[in-house]
């Protein structure tokens, strides 16, 4: 048993979700090797080396890995797992894990295919060495699946595993010098949202808005409430499609999965695809003028009324 974890980061800092993935890795089996692939990302490797449960850090530092291009990172991972191309049966690692973020989802299936094994997507529980639970059909069913592949490749739902401590370790850092750089793909640009607010999937409180907000400007109401609560702001697909807010705010089956202590759904009807992304939240508050809205079926506290009156009032009282 040995586990390789692809670390998520922005070349400067470790992304908190990696601590949840490492927690899943710890449940599966030590030793844990963590791979940091990026450009100018030595700081990240140093941070990872300090995590108590990490046994070895591999650092692959090259411009080829700067943007986590799947073609390059997948070949790097393959080379770590199966250096001599002898097949999954004699691989150096029995498990490969990454977060089920857009990075993990982009890279890991390529590695699985190159190894000739399947991938388990968005794993939410580890039952035994080969048995896992994952949500299917927008979270309306939970499947227990068994894999007898020689290497278990899986993306992990961050919110389903408690983060491990980022302190207490002193793992060795080993440089990986090989560079995989596909000539068939070129990074052009990235426009990343900059926000002072906590990251959506890691926030303890989330305030989300839907079509009921009516336009993008009205989201300011939610930003202001969120800032008072130290919350992140999310949205329904309808709000994103209508252009009220950017795509990275979408919560749901095909957006982000969140499970904060408190989730406040404002002007969101509660379609199954939205519920799939937030119904594991500890406490759910729904604000909707339609008392029949399905969101009330999952809400701990519902307020029926006009959000334009209720939201400012809540902000005033907290």
């Amino acid at each position: 048993m040995s586990t390789l974890v692809l670390i998520e980061h922005d070349n400067r800092t470790l992304s908190p979700i990696s601590l949840n993935v490492l927690s899943a890795a710890k449940q599966i089996g030590k030793p844990i090797t963590a791979l940091v692939a990026g450009a100018g990302c030595a700081d990240v490797a140093n941070q990872v080396a300090k995590i108590a449960d990490v046994d070895l850090v591999l650092l692959a530092d090259s411009v080829a890995y700067e943007h986590q291009v799947a073609e390059n990172v997948s070949k790097l991972l393959l080379e770590q797992i199966d250096p001599d191309n002898k097949g999954a049966d004699v691989a150096r690692f029995s498990n490969l894990l990454a977060a089920s973020t857009t990075t993990g989802k982009n890279v890991l299936p390529r590695v699985a295919a190159l190894l000739g094994v399947n991938q388990l997507s968005d794993v939410m529980s580890i039952e035994s060495e080969g048995r896992f639970k994952r949500a299917i059909y927008a979270g309306n069913a939970i499947a227990t699946v068994e894999s007898c592949d020689a290497v278990k490749v899986m993306t992990v739902r961050g919110t389903a595993f408690d983060a491990i401590s980022a302190e207490g370790g002193s793992a060795q850092i080993e440089q990986v010098s090989s560079v995989h750089s596909s000539g068939d793909i070129e990074f052009i640009e990235e426009s990343l949202a900059v926000s002072e607010r906590p990251e959506l999937t890691a926030a303890t409180t989330v305030v989300s808005g839907g079509r009921g907000l009516a336009n993008g400007e009205n989201f300011n109401m939610l930003y202001s409430l969120a800032d008072k609560l130290g919350a992140a702001v999310g949205a329904s697909r309808a709000a994103v499609d209508a252009g009220f807010v950017p795509n990275d705010m979408q919560v749901g089956q095909t957006g982000k999965m969140v499970a904060p202590e408190l989730y406040i759904a404002v002007g969101i009807s509660g379609a199954i695809q939205h519920l799939a992304g937030m119904k594991d939240s500890k406490v759910i508050v729904a604000i909707n003028k339609d008392e029949e809205a399905p969101i009330f079926q999952v809400a701990d506290y519902g307020v029926v009324g006009d959000l334009f009156e209720l939201v400012p009032e809540i902000e005033k009282q907290i």
Partner: protein, 250 residues
């Protein structure tokens, strides 16, 4: 340039699926089935690229039992030119699907292969990436914009932090996200016309792919049900409850 689009027959997205009493699987008996919404977006994009003169032919492929011919006809009605059904039991695993698609791609030689980012039944989000790896071709997942020029595809992707743009050398694999386009509805004349478009049936065995799987579904259960809570009548009451009962705000 030829475009290959892979589509999957899945439960209609409006239907709430139920788990069978014996927990062996979900119950799909008498449930409305449809084209996977992301596949519909892939079909629409391919048809638009043909209408723009970028593509010359759109071939649609699905792997599954005979019933998926219904979705293939649907795709033909939306503007695809020709269909291929690769006959197999329903629900082959993603690696098998990717291997079959790789074989189809090798014989069809498309310049661009479009897939949905995710099938809304398995919620796997992996087949396109696997296919790209097997073909050793570049990929752009979660596309919200595709431009094809000079043998390259310029693709904008929806990523967790925002948007990313990549340029891929064709042939390439692209998977679609929700905001790539809004699929059209099939018109009645086009539905009639689709019945006469070619639909070829192949066997997975003939393509040399063994669909046996290393993954086994052990059981399926209902998720923990949330109890509907209470309706509060005022903001005062809400804030009081959040503070003193749920203790989630200070």
């Amino acid at each position: 340039m030829k475009i290959l689009v892979a589509v999957k027959r899945v439960i209609d997205y409006n239907v709430k699926v139920r788990v069978k009493a014996d927990q062996s699987n979900v119950d799909l008996n008498n449930v409305k089935m449809a084209l996977n919404p992301f596949c519909e977006i892939a079909v629409e994009e391919a048809v638009r690229l043909k209408e723009q003169g970028v593509a010359t032919e759109v071939v649609v492929v699905s792997i599954g039992s005979k019933s998926c011919q219904e979705q293939l006809r649907n795709a033909l009605a939306l503007g695809c030119d020709r269909a291929i059904q690769v006959e197999s039991e329903d629900g082959p695993d993603s690696l098998s699907v990717a291997r079959i698609l790789a074989k189809v791609a090798e014989s069809e030689e498309p310049g661009l292969i479009l897939l949905g980012k995710q099938a809304i039944d398995s919620d796997n989000n992996q087949t396109g990436q696997m296919l790209a790896a097997l073909l050793d071709r570049p990929q752009a997942t979660f596309a919200s914009e595709i431009k094809v020029e000079d043998g390259k595809a310029l693709v904008t992707r929806e990523i967790d932090g925002g948007l990313q743009t990549l340029r891929l050398t064709l042939p390439a694999v692209v998977t679609t996200d929700l905001r790539l386009n809004e699929p059209r509805f099939a018109s009645l004349p086009n539905i009639m016309k689709a019945k006469r478009k070619p639909l070829e049936v192949k066997l997975a065995d003939d393509l040399g792919v063994n669909v046996s799987s290393n993954l086994k579904l052990i059981s399926v259960e209902e998720p923990a049900q949330r109890q509907a809570g209470i309706k509060v009548s005022s903001v005062d009451e809400l804030v009081e409850k959040l503070r003193n009962e749920a203790k989630v705000i200070a």
